[in-house]
């Protein structure tokens, strides 16, 4: 155990600067800002599938700040045709695609120490952690909260209710636009989150 700890500790110094900066932000507890995030991926298997895009928008004191948004499209080698149909991200549209490592650097700088919110967010976080692992980095340090779990609380149900984002939007009268783009889903999730914590 001690050996393992030492190994980690030793490695930590070697982590790139952007990770050090990210990590340093957790010394302060700033709970006013939360980030609602969504990833589009090539599929649902974290071991073989890849992140295609990440979209996020932040809330400050429960108000969605449009200008505090994040969007990145990743350059990935595998592109399964069936997922293209859903996300509409076409491989040859390479203009704005960035390598995974660069995308992670941007993401961490955006996230800071803010709590991450998302619908079935464990999957997204898992996908990001896999990518971090590939880059030789540790897992995300942020707190995470699932809107799906919040919804169960909101309903006063102790069991987790597996409702889709579509269903929640319908229930809360949120007009569905841009479903299946990471940015669009993040914005919709942010609006769902706002209702879950305020209504």
């Amino acid at each position: 155990m001690k050996l393992l700890f030492n190994k980690l500790f030793k490695n930590k110094k070697d982590y790139p600067e952007f990770w050090q900066n990210y990590s340093a932000k957790f010394k302060n507890d700033d709970s006013a800002r939360v980030v609602v995030l969504d990833c589009e991926t090539t599929g649902l298997k974290p071991t073989e599938d890849k992140i295609l895009s990440i979209g996020a928008v932040a809330l400050h004191n429960k108000i969605i700040y449009i200008e505090d948004n994040f969007s990145v499209f990743l350059k990935q080698k595998i592109n399964k045709p069936e997922s293209i149909a859903i996300h509409g991200i076409v491989k040859n549209k390479t203009d704005h695609l960035v390598p995974e490592s660069e995308a992670l650097e941007q993401l961490l700088s955006y996230l800071g120490n803010s709590k991450i919110i998302g619908h079935h967010i464990q999957f997204d976080v898992h996908m990001i952690n896999m990518a971090l692992k590939n880059a030789g980095l540790p897992k995300l340090k942020n707190k995470v909260q699932d809107t799906s779990a919040l919804y169960s609380q909101y309903k006063g149900v102790h069991q987790l209710m597996r409702k889709s984002l579509d269903e929640l939007c319908d229930e809360f009268h949120i007009t569905k636009k841009d479903r299946h783009t990471s940015m669009g889903d993040a914005f919709l999730t942010a609006q769902v989150y706002q209702r879950l914590i305020l209504a």
């Binding site: 449009i66 969007s71 669009g184 209702r195 305020l198």
Partner: protein, 639 residues
């Protein structure tokens, strides 16, 4: 790749004023700075006296009510719904809110930082004006609101700034320093002067005051009479008094004066009366040249043509003219007046022509326009609504007489149908034996309606009470009116019924989202502007004017104007009704021309936000007038 969140916000904003007029760049820049607030039902956005926020709000979803302890605690000053702007006070006034804003239902608000808007405001006066207007409409006491009419009119003129037809709205051009003669001058002198100056009229003056006018026509008549004498004085042939107008008169007003008095010239004097100094003369020709396709010309043509085809053509010109007027800032009152005068002239001519065809009437009669035709409120082609009253005849001649008039009515009705006035589906036409009656039978008919009030009879009253003579003997129409007013005098039971009928359609509450829309049939999801907004005003004006015993006022606007004279204490309510009536009629007319329809059904989803605001404001006076009716006729006991 664009940012979909910013695009989504921009997509929403651009549907509503003032954002709809922004450039794409500006819109995107604003949208990217928006903050999305969620306010649960019954929560406050801000309270009275709260320190100003650094942002203002656009309602994206839900409804936020504004109220102030200064006014009535229970009364909402305004309800802001989708696309409405609120919280502008910090931009214009003090640093604290003067009202509270409460979510009437769960609401999503787009907050726009003032900072993001500042540079836009500096360079864009129309946006500033719009925000000022929104601010004003939010803060307004609804009672004092639309009567003032300021907001509405600036709105109109703003929108039509670059309209080409605006010429029409300009002041009438007149000839300065007209040639004048004294009434003691001879006809020959006058003819010489008119000939040498190539003019068609002379003003007759006495110490710079106009006493009369002599025109080409007067001289022709003098010559035709055959009794002319070189030494005849102008005072024998001049028209006197002369109609005068002040120098700043709108072309439109001049036109309606010429139409109304069937004259060709107006004298321009310093204060517009014939007791002030002459400064100019204005002829029909001046106006004709100012506008080629004009109402005066149409009216003339109507008198001249003899074929139905020509009348059809004129009716089409009228539609085109009215449609063009509706696009200008021309006040709706003028548009309606011109429509009324020309429509009446058309009907008159149709009857004249039909009479020639069918043969001369055996006895005197009067052709009555009823319903909106009787009120002179038609702008669009509508159903025919008319009735006929003829002199009493011997019992054995009654059948033959009625037969003749039915034949005449069928002929007239057929022609009107060809002109585009379709047959009335309810057969409220003079060609129906029920509505083609002798004066005595009509009196009995009205007595029955008045003495035995019922829903059906009230409906008949509301249609037939608004009759006006289109053609024939004024005397007969007058006699019928006398009879009706005698019957109505102090008939409280009847007025209670009529009053109840007038409030049966409450106003659509003023809030667009709660609009009563037609829930079935062909017009699902449309708003019936006629039944739900125009009709309540028409009905209110009718019952009030009848209960005052005022005769000869058929037009809804004229009725309200008369009521203001009679009851100055209610001026605000009545003036609000006039304004609303104009606005609503304009909506209906524009809709009707656009869709070649009766215009009565407005498709809500197709209205712009500023149209919705206008409509919303037009509903408030309906509420006011209905509570006035309820009080006056003690309907609360009745309902």
């Amino acid at each position: 790749m664009g940012n979909v969140i910013v695009e989504r916000v921009a997509d929403f904003l651009k549907k509503y004023p003032p954002f709809e007029d922004l450039s794409f760049e500006d819109l995107k820049s604003i949208a990217s700075q928006v903050r999305v607030h969620y306010i649960p039902k019954r929560n406050f956005l801000f309270k009275e006296g709260d320190a100003a926020h650094t942002e203002f709000y656009v309602v994206q979803q839900g409804a936020v009510g504004l109220r102030s302890s200064q006014i009535h605690a229970a009364d909402w000053i305004d309800i802001c719904d989708e696309g409405d702007i609120l919280g502008l006070r910090p931009l214009f006034a003090d640093q604290t809110y003067a009202m509270e804003a409460l979510a009437r239902e769960e609401s999503v608000l787009y907050a726009i930082p003032f900072e993001a808007f500042k540079s836009l405001l500096q360079h864009n006066t129309s946006i500033m004006n719009f925000l000022l207007e929104s601010f004003a409409s939010n803060t307004r006491n609804p009672k004092a609101s639309d009567a003032k009419g300021k907001l509405m009119s600036t709105n109109y003129s703003l929108k039509n700034q670059d309209s080409t037809d605006l010429d029409f709205f300009q002041q009438a051009f007149y000839t300065r320093n007209p040639i004048c003669l004294s009434s003691a001058a001879t006809v020959q002198q006058a003819a010489k002067i008119m000939n040498s100056h190539k003019i068609s009229s002379l003003i007759i003056e006495d110490k710079h005051l106009p006493t009369g006018i002599v025109t080409d026509k007067d001289i022709r008549r003098w010559v035709a009479s055959g009794k002319m004498d070189k030494e005849d004085k102008l005072e024998n042939i001049m028209s006197s008094p002369v109609r005068c107008i002040p120098p700043q008169t709108h072309l439109a007003e001049v036109q309606s004066l010429l139409l109304q008095h069937k004259i060709g010239h107006l004298c321009v004097t310093k204060d517009g009366s014939d007791q002030s100094e002459i400064i100019g003369i204005l002829s029909e020709h001046d106006i004709m040249t100012a506008q080629a396709n004009n109402p005066v010309a149409l009216l003339k043509q109507i008198e001249r043509v003899t074929s139905l085809e020509s009348l059809i053509r004129i009716r089409e010109s009228l539609s085109r003219l009215l449609e063009a007027y509706l696009e200008t800032a021309l006040p709706m009152a003028y548009v309606m007046k011109i429509s009324r005068l020309i429509t009446q002239a058309l009907m008159y001519r149709v009857i004249e022509i039909s009479e020639v065809k069918v043969g001369k009437a055996p006895v005197k009669y009067a052709w009555l326009g009823i319903g909106s035709q009787g009120r002179g409120e038609q702008v669009l082609l509508t159903d025919q609504d008319h009735a006929l009253v003829f002199e009493d005849v011997e019992r054995d001649k009654l059948n033959d007489t009625q037969e003749y008039f039915l034949k005449l009515a069928k002929e007239v009705s057929k022609s009107l149908h060809q002109l585009g006035y379709v047959y009335c589906p309810a057969e409220m036409m003079a060609s129906n034996p029920d509505y083609c009656l002798s004066i005595s039978d009509w009196k009995r008919q009205f007595s029955r309606w008045i003495e035995h009030p019922s829903t059906k009879h009230m409906m008949m009253c509301s249609i037939f009470f608004d009759y006006s003579r289109v053609y024939g003997e004024d005397q007969l129409a007058e006699e019928l009116s006398q009879h009706i007013y005698k019957k109505l005098n102090n008939n409280q039971k009847f007025f209670a019924y009529l009053g109840e009928d007038a409030v049966k359609n409450p106003p659509p509450l003023g809030f667009f989202r709660q609009f009563i829309i037609e829930d079935d049939g062909e017009h699902k999801d449309e708003f019936d502007v006629k039944a739900r907004a125009i009709q309540p005003l028409v009905d209110a004006a009718r019952v009030l004017i009848l209960s005052e015993g005022i005769q000869g006022k058929n037009n809804t606007i004229e009725r309200f104007e008369k009521l203001i004279q009679l009851e100055p204490q209610n001026e605000e309510v009545y003036a609000g009704c006039i304004k609303s009536f104009h606005v609503l009629s304009k909506f209906r007319a524009i809709e009707g021309f656009k869709n070649q329809s009766s215009g009565r059904y407005l498709e809500l989803s197709k209205l712009t936000k500023s149209d919705k605001m206008k409509l919303k404001r037009a509903f408030k006076p309906i509420k006011d007038i209905q509570s006035l009716l309820k009080n006056r006729f003690q309907l609360t006991y009745f309902l």
